[in-house]
Protein backbone atom coordinates (compact mmCIF):
# COMPACT_ATOMS: atom_id res chain seq x y z
CA UNK A 1 0.00 0.00 0.00
CA UNK A 2 1.57 3.21 -1.20
CA UNK A 3 1.37 6.45 0.79
CA UNK A 4 -1.14 8.88 -0.62
CA UNK A 5 -0.11 11.58 -3.07
CA UNK A 6 -0.56 14.40 -0.57
CA UNK A 7 1.58 12.59 2.01
CA UNK A 8 4.38 12.20 -0.55
CA UNK A 9 4.22 15.88 -1.46
CA UNK A 10 4.28 16.81 2.23
CA UNK A 11 7.28 14.56 2.89
CA UNK A 12 9.28 16.09 0.06
CA UNK A 13 8.42 19.62 1.13
CA UNK A 14 9.37 18.86 4.73
CA UNK A 15 12.73 17.56 3.51
CA UNK A 16 13.35 20.68 1.41
CA UNK A 17 12.27 22.95 4.25
CA UNK A 18 14.74 21.27 6.63
CA UNK A 19 17.56 21.81 4.12
CA UNK A 20 16.58 25.43 3.68
CA UNK A 21 16.30 26.00 7.44
CA UNK A 22 19.78 24.52 7.91
CA UNK A 23 21.03 27.12 5.47
CA UNK A 24 19.13 29.84 7.33
CA UNK A 25 20.50 28.78 10.71
CA UNK A 26 24.13 28.27 9.73
CA UNK A 27 24.70 30.75 6.92
CA UNK A 28 21.93 33.31 6.62
CA UNK A 29 21.62 34.20 10.31
CA UNK A 30 24.51 36.38 11.52
CA UNK A 31 26.93 35.26 14.18
CA UNK A 32 25.93 36.52 17.61
CA UNK A 33 28.56 38.89 18.98
CA UNK A 34 28.79 37.83 22.60
CA UNK A 35 28.03 34.11 22.54
CA UNK A 36 29.45 33.25 19.15
CA UNK A 37 28.56 30.17 17.14
CA UNK A 38 26.92 28.31 20.02
CA UNK A 39 24.02 30.75 19.87
CA UNK A 40 22.91 29.01 16.67
CA UNK A 41 21.63 26.14 18.85
CA UNK A 42 18.83 28.52 19.81
CA UNK A 43 16.89 28.21 16.53
CA UNK A 44 16.36 24.46 16.70
CA UNK A 45 16.30 24.40 20.50
CA UNK A 46 13.21 26.59 20.74
CA UNK A 47 11.60 24.93 17.72
CA UNK A 48 12.05 21.48 19.29
CA UNK A 49 10.58 22.71 22.57
CA UNK A 50 7.61 24.15 20.73
CA UNK A 51 6.98 20.83 18.95
CA UNK A 52 7.18 18.97 22.28
CA UNK A 53 4.50 21.21 23.77
CA UNK A 54 2.37 21.08 20.62
CA UNK A 55 2.60 17.28 20.41
CA UNK A 56 1.48 16.81 24.00
CA UNK A 57 -1.35 19.31 23.54
CA UNK A 58 -2.50 17.31 20.50
CA UNK A 59 -2.39 14.16 22.66
CA UNK A 60 -4.52 15.86 25.31
CA UNK A 61 -7.15 16.89 22.77
CA UNK A 62 -7.37 13.54 20.98
CA UNK A 63 -7.36 11.68 24.32
CA UNK A 64 -10.43 13.60 25.49
CA UNK A 65 -12.08 13.02 22.11
CA UNK A 66 -11.19 9.33 22.26
CA UNK A 67 -12.90 8.89 25.63
CA UNK A 68 -15.95 10.66 24.23
CA UNK A 69 -16.17 8.81 20.89
CA UNK A 70 -14.11 5.58 21.15
CA UNK A 71 -12.70 6.23 17.70
CA UNK A 72 -9.51 4.16 17.21
CA UNK A 73 -7.94 6.72 14.85
CA UNK A 74 -7.85 9.24 17.69
CA UNK A 75 -5.90 6.82 19.86
CA UNK A 76 -3.41 6.25 17.04
CA UNK A 77 -2.88 10.00 16.81
CA UNK A 78 -2.41 10.17 20.59
CA UNK A 79 0.35 7.55 20.78
CA UNK A 80 2.07 8.82 17.62
CA UNK A 81 2.07 12.36 18.92
CA UNK A 82 3.54 11.31 22.27
CA UNK A 83 6.37 9.43 20.56
CA UNK A 84 7.25 12.42 18.40
CA UNK A 85 6.87 14.77 21.37
CA UNK A 86 9.27 12.73 23.49
CA UNK A 87 11.88 12.75 20.71
CA UNK A 88 11.62 16.52 20.24
CA UNK A 89 11.63 17.20 23.99
CA UNK A 90 14.82 15.13 24.25
CA UNK A 91 16.34 17.25 21.46
CA UNK A 92 15.22 20.36 23.29
CA UNK A 93 16.82 19.30 26.58
CA UNK A 94 20.05 18.04 24.97
CA UNK A 95 20.55 21.12 22.80
CA UNK A 96 19.80 23.35 25.79
CA UNK A 97 22.50 21.61 27.79
CA UNK A 98 25.02 22.07 25.00
CA UNK A 99 24.25 25.79 24.95
CA UNK A 100 24.24 26.11 28.75
CA UNK A 101 27.73 24.65 29.20
CA UNK A 102 29.60 27.64 27.71
CA UNK A 103 26.98 30.30 28.56
CA UNK A 104 25.93 29.38 32.10
CA UNK A 105 29.13 27.44 32.78
CA UNK A 106 27.13 24.35 33.72
CA UNK A 107 25.34 21.57 31.87
CA UNK A 108 22.36 21.82 34.12
CA UNK A 109 20.60 24.01 36.66
CA UNK A 110 17.29 23.34 38.41
CA UNK A 111 15.64 26.32 36.79
CA UNK A 112 11.80 26.18 36.47
CA UNK A 113 11.86 25.72 32.72
CA UNK A 114 14.51 23.03 32.75
CA UNK A 115 12.87 21.12 35.55
CA UNK A 116 9.42 21.37 34.01
CA UNK A 117 10.76 20.10 30.68
CA UNK A 118 12.38 17.15 32.44
CA UNK A 119 9.28 16.24 34.43
CA UNK A 120 7.23 16.55 31.25
CA UNK A 121 9.66 14.24 29.45
CA UNK A 122 9.38 11.68 32.30
CA UNK A 123 5.57 11.92 32.27
CA UNK A 124 5.36 10.97 28.62
CA UNK A 125 7.97 8.23 28.93
CA UNK A 126 5.69 6.87 31.67
CA UNK A 127 2.79 7.18 29.20
CA UNK A 128 4.63 5.00 26.69
CA UNK A 129 5.60 2.49 29.38
CA UNK A 130 2.00 2.29 30.55
CA UNK A 131 0.92 1.40 27.03
CA UNK A 132 3.60 -1.25 26.77
CA UNK A 133 2.61 -2.79 30.08
CA UNK A 134 -1.03 -3.31 29.10
CA UNK A 135 -2.02 -6.31 27.03
CA UNK A 136 -5.70 -5.84 26.28
CA UNK A 137 -5.76 -3.30 23.39
CA UNK A 138 -9.11 -1.78 24.33
CA UNK A 139 -8.01 -1.20 27.91
CA UNK A 140 -4.65 0.11 26.69
CA UNK A 141 -6.39 2.82 24.69
CA UNK A 142 -8.68 3.85 27.55
CA UNK A 143 -5.97 3.96 30.22
CA UNK A 144 -3.57 5.81 27.94
CA UNK A 145 -6.21 8.43 27.22
CA UNK A 146 -6.79 9.00 30.94
CA UNK A 147 -3.07 9.24 31.60
CA UNK A 148 -2.65 11.61 28.66
CA UNK A 149 -5.15 13.98 30.29
CA UNK A 150 -3.64 13.67 33.77
CA UNK A 151 -0.09 14.18 32.50
CA UNK A 152 -0.93 17.36 30.63
CA UNK A 153 -2.76 18.81 33.66
CA UNK A 154 0.26 18.29 35.88
CA UNK A 155 2.73 20.15 33.64
CA UNK A 156 1.60 23.73 34.49
CA UNK A 157 1.28 22.75 38.17
CA UNK A 158 4.88 21.55 38.13
CA UNK A 159 5.99 24.86 36.66
CA UNK A 160 4.13 26.73 39.40
CA UNK A 161 5.57 24.50 42.13
CA UNK A 162 9.13 25.14 41.01
CA UNK A 163 8.50 28.86 40.68
CA UNK A 164 7.34 28.93 44.31
CA UNK A 165 10.38 26.92 45.30
CA UNK A 166 12.73 29.28 43.58
CA UNK A 167 11.25 32.60 44.61
CA UNK A 168 11.76 31.59 48.26
CA UNK A 169 15.13 29.96 47.79
CA UNK A 170 17.91 32.29 46.73
CA UNK A 171 19.79 31.16 43.64
CA UNK A 172 22.95 29.45 44.77
CA UNK A 173 25.36 29.34 41.84
CA UNK A 174 25.34 32.44 39.67
CA UNK A 175 22.07 33.65 38.22
CA UNK A 176 20.26 30.89 36.35
CA UNK A 177 17.50 33.02 34.94
CA UNK A 178 17.51 32.51 31.14
CA UNK A 179 16.45 36.13 30.77
CA UNK A 180 19.48 37.29 32.71
CA UNK A 181 22.31 35.06 31.54
CA UNK A 182 22.73 34.66 27.83
CA UNK A 183 20.13 37.10 26.64
CA UNK A 184 20.51 38.77 23.27
CA UNK A 185 18.53 40.95 20.90
CA UNK A 186 17.57 39.33 17.64
CA UNK A 187 18.42 41.10 14.42
CA UNK A 188 16.03 40.96 11.50
CA UNK A 189 17.90 38.04 9.93
CA UNK A 190 18.01 36.13 13.20
CA UNK A 191 14.30 36.65 13.60
CA UNK A 192 13.51 35.30 10.16
CA UNK A 193 15.78 32.28 10.73
CA UNK A 194 14.00 31.70 14.03
CA UNK A 195 10.46 31.87 12.66
CA UNK A 196 11.51 29.80 9.67
CA UNK A 197 12.77 27.07 12.04
CA UNK A 198 9.49 27.13 13.93
CA UNK A 199 7.59 26.77 10.68
CA UNK A 200 9.87 23.99 9.41
CA UNK A 201 9.55 22.00 12.62
CA UNK A 202 5.77 22.34 12.56
CA UNK A 203 5.65 20.98 9.01
CA UNK A 204 8.08 18.24 10.02
CA UNK A 205 5.87 17.33 12.98
CA UNK A 206 2.80 17.10 10.77
CA UNK A 207 4.66 14.89 8.30
CA UNK A 208 6.03 12.57 10.98
CA UNK A 209 2.64 12.36 12.67
CA UNK A 210 0.94 11.46 9.43
CA UNK A 211 3.51 8.76 8.67
CA UNK A 212 3.35 7.39 12.18
CA UNK A 213 -0.46 7.23 12.27
CA UNK A 214 -0.41 5.53 8.89
CA UNK A 215 2.13 3.00 10.18
CA UNK A 216 -0.11 2.27 13.16
CA UNK A 217 -2.98 1.57 10.74
CA UNK A 218 -0.80 -0.74 8.65
CA UNK A 219 0.36 -2.62 11.77
CA UNK A 220 -3.27 -3.12 12.70
CA UNK A 221 -4.05 -4.51 9.22
CA UNK A 222 -1.10 -6.90 9.43
CA UNK A 223 -2.33 -8.12 12.82
CA UNK A 224 -5.80 -8.77 11.38
CA UNK A 225 -4.37 -10.61 8.35
CA UNK A 226 -2.19 -12.74 10.60
CA UNK A 227 -5.11 -13.63 12.82
CA UNK A 228 -7.23 -14.52 9.78
CA UNK A 229 -4.47 -16.68 8.33
CA UNK A 230 -4.02 -18.61 11.57
CA UNK A 231 -7.76 -19.00 11.85
CA UNK A 232 -8.11 -20.44 8.31
CA UNK A 233 -5.44 -23.04 8.73
Amino acid sequence: MQPSRSLRILTISAFLLVLLSLYMVFVYAPREVVMGAVQRVFYYHVAAGWIGALAFLVTLIVSILYLATNNIILDRIAVSSVEIGVVFTSMNIASGSIWARPIWNTWWTWDPRLTTATVMWLLYIAYLMLRQGLEDPERQRRFAAVYGILAFASVPLTFLAIRIWRTIHPVVIGSNDPGAEGQFDMTMRMRSAFFFSLFTFTVLYTTLLWHRVRLEGLACRVAIMKARLLHDR
Binding site: L67, L134, F143, V146, T158, I168
Partner: protein, 234 residues
Protein backbone atom coordinates in the same frame (compact mmCIF):
# COMPACT_ATOMS: atom_id res chain seq x y z
CA UNK B 1 -34.47 2.67 44.56
CA UNK B 2 -32.73 5.04 42.15
CA UNK B 3 -31.03 3.68 39.09
CA UNK B 4 -27.44 2.89 40.18
CA UNK B 5 -25.96 3.41 36.75
CA UNK B 6 -27.38 6.90 36.51
CA UNK B 7 -24.59 9.41 36.05
CA UNK B 8 -26.02 11.67 38.77
CA UNK B 9 -25.19 9.97 42.06
CA UNK B 10 -28.16 9.71 44.40
CA UNK B 11 -26.40 11.23 47.40
CA UNK B 12 -27.58 9.14 50.34
CA UNK B 13 -27.09 5.79 48.61
CA UNK B 14 -23.85 7.00 47.08
CA UNK B 15 -22.22 7.86 50.39
CA UNK B 16 -23.52 4.65 51.92
CA UNK B 17 -21.76 2.72 49.17
CA UNK B 18 -18.57 4.75 49.67
CA UNK B 19 -18.50 4.11 53.39
CA UNK B 20 -19.36 0.44 52.90
CA UNK B 21 -16.36 -0.04 50.60
CA UNK B 22 -14.04 1.91 52.87
CA UNK B 23 -15.32 0.10 55.94
CA UNK B 24 -14.78 -3.29 54.27
CA UNK B 25 -11.08 -2.45 53.78
CA UNK B 26 -10.70 -1.00 57.26
CA UNK B 27 -12.40 -4.00 58.88
CA UNK B 28 -10.11 -6.39 57.04
CA UNK B 29 -7.14 -4.29 58.12
CA UNK B 30 -8.33 -4.21 61.74
CA UNK B 31 -8.23 -8.01 61.78
CA UNK B 32 -4.77 -8.64 60.39
CA UNK B 33 -3.08 -5.20 60.61
CA UNK B 34 -1.09 -6.25 57.58
CA UNK B 35 -0.75 -2.96 55.69
CA UNK B 36 -0.39 -0.44 58.51
CA UNK B 37 2.26 -2.43 60.41
CA UNK B 38 4.24 -3.08 57.21
CA UNK B 39 4.08 0.59 56.22
CA UNK B 40 5.14 1.71 59.68
CA UNK B 41 8.21 -0.54 59.75
CA UNK B 42 9.04 0.52 56.21
CA UNK B 43 8.79 4.20 57.19
CA UNK B 44 11.11 3.65 60.14
CA UNK B 45 13.64 2.02 57.84
CA UNK B 46 13.49 4.92 55.39
CA UNK B 47 14.08 7.42 58.21
CA UNK B 48 16.97 5.32 59.48
CA UNK B 49 18.58 5.12 56.03
CA UNK B 50 18.22 8.87 55.55
CA UNK B 51 19.86 9.51 58.86
CA UNK B 52 23.00 7.66 57.80
CA UNK B 53 22.91 8.55 54.09
CA UNK B 54 22.87 12.27 54.87
CA UNK B 55 25.32 12.36 57.82
CA UNK B 56 22.98 14.55 59.79
CA UNK B 57 24.23 16.87 62.48
CA UNK B 58 21.86 19.10 64.44
CA UNK B 59 21.62 21.96 61.95
CA UNK B 60 21.38 19.70 58.91
CA UNK B 61 18.62 17.70 60.60
CA UNK B 62 16.46 20.77 61.02
CA UNK B 63 17.04 21.86 57.43
CA UNK B 64 16.13 18.57 55.80
CA UNK B 65 13.42 17.40 58.22
CA UNK B 66 10.48 18.40 56.00
CA UNK B 67 12.04 16.81 52.92
CA UNK B 68 12.94 13.55 54.68
CA UNK B 69 9.49 13.31 56.22
CA UNK B 70 7.73 13.81 52.89
CA UNK B 71 9.92 11.34 51.05
CA UNK B 72 9.11 8.83 53.79
CA UNK B 73 5.38 9.50 53.40
CA UNK B 74 5.54 9.28 49.62
CA UNK B 75 7.42 5.98 49.62
CA UNK B 76 5.24 4.28 52.19
CA UNK B 77 2.04 5.65 50.64
CA UNK B 78 3.08 4.18 47.29
CA UNK B 79 3.53 0.77 48.89
CA UNK B 80 0.15 1.10 50.58
CA UNK B 81 -1.56 2.07 47.30
CA UNK B 82 -0.08 -0.97 45.60
CA UNK B 83 -1.38 -3.22 48.37
CA UNK B 84 -4.99 -2.07 48.51
CA UNK B 85 -5.67 -2.78 44.85
CA UNK B 86 -3.41 -5.83 44.55
CA UNK B 87 -5.31 -7.56 47.37
CA UNK B 88 -8.63 -7.00 45.56
CA UNK B 89 -7.30 -8.23 42.26
CA UNK B 90 -5.48 -11.30 43.54
CA UNK B 91 -8.49 -12.54 45.46
CA UNK B 92 -10.77 -11.79 42.53
CA UNK B 93 -12.93 -9.56 44.69
CA UNK B 94 -12.56 -6.60 42.33
CA UNK B 95 -14.97 -8.32 39.94
CA UNK B 96 -17.41 -8.72 42.80
CA UNK B 97 -17.21 -5.01 43.55
CA UNK B 98 -17.77 -4.19 39.90
CA UNK B 99 -20.90 -6.35 39.84
CA UNK B 100 -22.36 -4.48 42.82
CA UNK B 101 -25.17 -2.13 41.79
CA UNK B 102 -23.39 1.04 42.84
CA UNK B 103 -22.16 4.10 41.01
CA UNK B 104 -18.64 3.58 39.71
CA UNK B 105 -17.21 6.66 41.35
CA UNK B 106 -18.42 5.31 44.72
CA UNK B 107 -15.79 2.64 44.21
CA UNK B 108 -13.16 5.33 43.67
CA UNK B 109 -14.14 7.33 46.74
CA UNK B 110 -14.39 4.19 48.87
CA UNK B 111 -10.92 3.10 47.88
CA UNK B 112 -9.59 6.62 48.27
CA UNK B 113 -11.07 6.86 51.76
CA UNK B 114 -9.60 3.57 52.98
CA UNK B 115 -6.16 4.26 51.48
CA UNK B 116 -6.18 7.78 52.88
CA UNK B 117 -7.02 6.45 56.36
CA UNK B 118 -4.24 3.83 56.16
CA UNK B 119 -1.67 6.44 55.21
CA UNK B 120 -2.93 8.83 57.88
CA UNK B 121 -2.66 6.17 60.59
CA UNK B 122 0.93 5.49 59.55
CA UNK B 123 1.68 9.23 59.55
CA UNK B 124 0.13 9.67 62.98
CA UNK B 125 2.52 7.04 64.32
CA UNK B 126 5.53 8.21 62.31
CA UNK B 127 5.31 11.92 63.20
CA UNK B 128 5.95 11.54 66.98
CA UNK B 129 8.66 8.94 66.35
CA UNK B 130 10.27 11.27 63.84
CA UNK B 131 10.03 14.15 66.34
CA UNK B 132 11.96 12.09 68.85
CA UNK B 133 14.56 10.73 66.47
CA UNK B 134 15.26 14.06 64.77
CA UNK B 135 14.76 16.09 67.92
CA UNK B 136 12.37 18.52 66.27
CA UNK B 137 8.85 19.47 67.30
CA UNK B 138 6.32 18.60 64.61
CA UNK B 139 3.18 19.18 66.60
CA UNK B 140 1.75 22.40 65.19
CA UNK B 141 -1.77 22.62 63.70
CA UNK B 142 -0.73 24.33 60.43
CA UNK B 143 1.91 21.66 59.85
CA UNK B 144 -0.60 18.89 60.45
CA UNK B 145 -3.02 20.60 58.05
CA UNK B 146 -0.37 20.60 55.32
CA UNK B 147 0.31 16.92 55.99
CA UNK B 148 -3.41 16.20 55.76
CA UNK B 149 -3.95 18.10 52.49
CA UNK B 150 -0.72 16.93 50.87
CA UNK B 151 -1.48 13.33 51.71
CA UNK B 152 -5.02 13.74 50.38
CA UNK B 153 -3.72 15.02 47.05
CA UNK B 154 -1.21 12.22 46.79
CA UNK B 155 -3.82 9.61 47.69
CA UNK B 156 -6.28 10.99 45.13
CA UNK B 157 -3.87 10.70 42.23
CA UNK B 158 -2.43 7.50 43.65
CA UNK B 159 -5.80 5.75 43.87
CA UNK B 160 -6.58 6.71 40.29
CA UNK B 161 -3.24 5.47 38.99
CA UNK B 162 -3.19 2.34 41.18
CA UNK B 163 -6.44 1.30 39.51
CA UNK B 164 -4.52 1.51 36.21
CA UNK B 165 -1.22 0.04 37.34
CA UNK B 166 -2.93 -3.04 38.73
CA UNK B 167 -3.67 -4.26 35.20
CA UNK B 168 -0.13 -3.85 33.87
CA UNK B 169 2.74 -6.29 33.80
CA UNK B 170 5.24 -5.54 36.56
CA UNK B 171 2.59 -3.54 38.38
CA UNK B 172 4.63 -2.84 41.53
CA UNK B 173 7.19 -0.93 39.47
CA UNK B 174 4.61 0.66 37.22
CA UNK B 175 2.78 2.55 39.97
CA UNK B 176 5.71 4.77 41.06
CA UNK B 177 6.71 5.38 37.43
CA UNK B 178 3.21 6.63 36.66
CA UNK B 179 2.66 8.38 39.96
CA UNK B 180 5.89 10.20 40.82
CA UNK B 181 6.02 12.60 37.87
CA UNK B 182 2.33 13.47 38.30
CA UNK B 183 2.83 13.98 42.05
CA UNK B 184 5.89 16.26 41.71
CA UNK B 185 3.91 19.51 42.19
CA UNK B 186 2.05 18.46 45.34
CA UNK B 187 5.14 16.94 46.95
CA UNK B 188 7.25 20.02 46.20
CA UNK B 189 4.60 22.41 47.46
CA UNK B 190 3.95 20.33 50.59
CA UNK B 191 7.68 20.16 51.41
CA UNK B 192 7.98 23.90 50.86
CA UNK B 193 5.00 24.71 53.10
CA UNK B 194 6.09 22.23 55.80
CA UNK B 195 9.64 23.57 55.82
CA UNK B 196 8.31 27.13 56.12
CA UNK B 197 6.08 26.23 59.07
CA UNK B 198 8.79 24.24 60.85
CA UNK B 199 11.30 27.08 60.41
CA UNK B 200 8.75 29.42 62.00
CA UNK B 201 8.50 31.68 58.96
CA UNK B 202 5.58 34.08 58.70
CA UNK B 203 2.54 32.99 56.67
CA UNK B 204 3.31 35.14 53.62
CA UNK B 205 6.54 33.21 52.96
CA UNK B 206 4.84 29.89 52.33
CA UNK B 207 1.26 30.94 51.48
CA UNK B 208 1.94 30.29 47.78
CA UNK B 209 3.08 26.74 48.48
CA UNK B 210 0.10 26.08 50.72
CA UNK B 211 -2.32 27.42 48.13
CA UNK B 212 -0.73 25.25 45.47
CA UNK B 213 -1.42 22.13 47.57
CA UNK B 214 -5.08 23.14 47.74
CA UNK B 215 -5.20 23.92 44.00
CA UNK B 216 -3.57 20.59 43.18
CA UNK B 217 -6.09 18.71 45.35
CA UNK B 218 -8.99 20.47 43.65
CA UNK B 219 -7.79 19.92 40.08
CA UNK B 220 -6.89 16.28 40.64
CA UNK B 221 -10.21 15.61 42.35
CA UNK B 222 -12.00 17.01 39.30
CA UNK B 223 -9.92 14.90 36.90
CA UNK B 224 -10.42 11.78 39.04
CA UNK B 225 -14.20 12.22 39.11
CA UNK B 226 -14.31 12.79 35.36
CA UNK B 227 -12.05 9.90 34.36
CA UNK B 228 -12.48 7.14 36.93
CA UNK B 229 -15.49 5.64 35.12
CA UNK B 230 -13.26 4.93 32.13
CA UNK B 231 -10.75 3.01 34.22
CA UNK B 232 -13.10 0.30 35.37
CA UNK B 233 -15.36 0.00 32.35
CA UNK B 234 -14.98 -3.77 32.08
Amino acid sequence: MPDPTNSQPPTAGFWRAVSAIAWKDLAAELRNKEIVSALFIFSLLVILIFNFALELDKVARENVAAGVLWVTFVFSATLGLNRTFAAEKDRGSLDGLLLAPIHRSALYFGKLLSTFVFILIVEIIVIPVFSVLYNISLFSPPFLLVVLLGTLGYAMVGTLLAAMAIHTRAREVMLPILLFPVAVPVVMAAVRASAGILAGAEWGRFAGAFNLVVIYDTIMLAIAIMTFDYLIEE
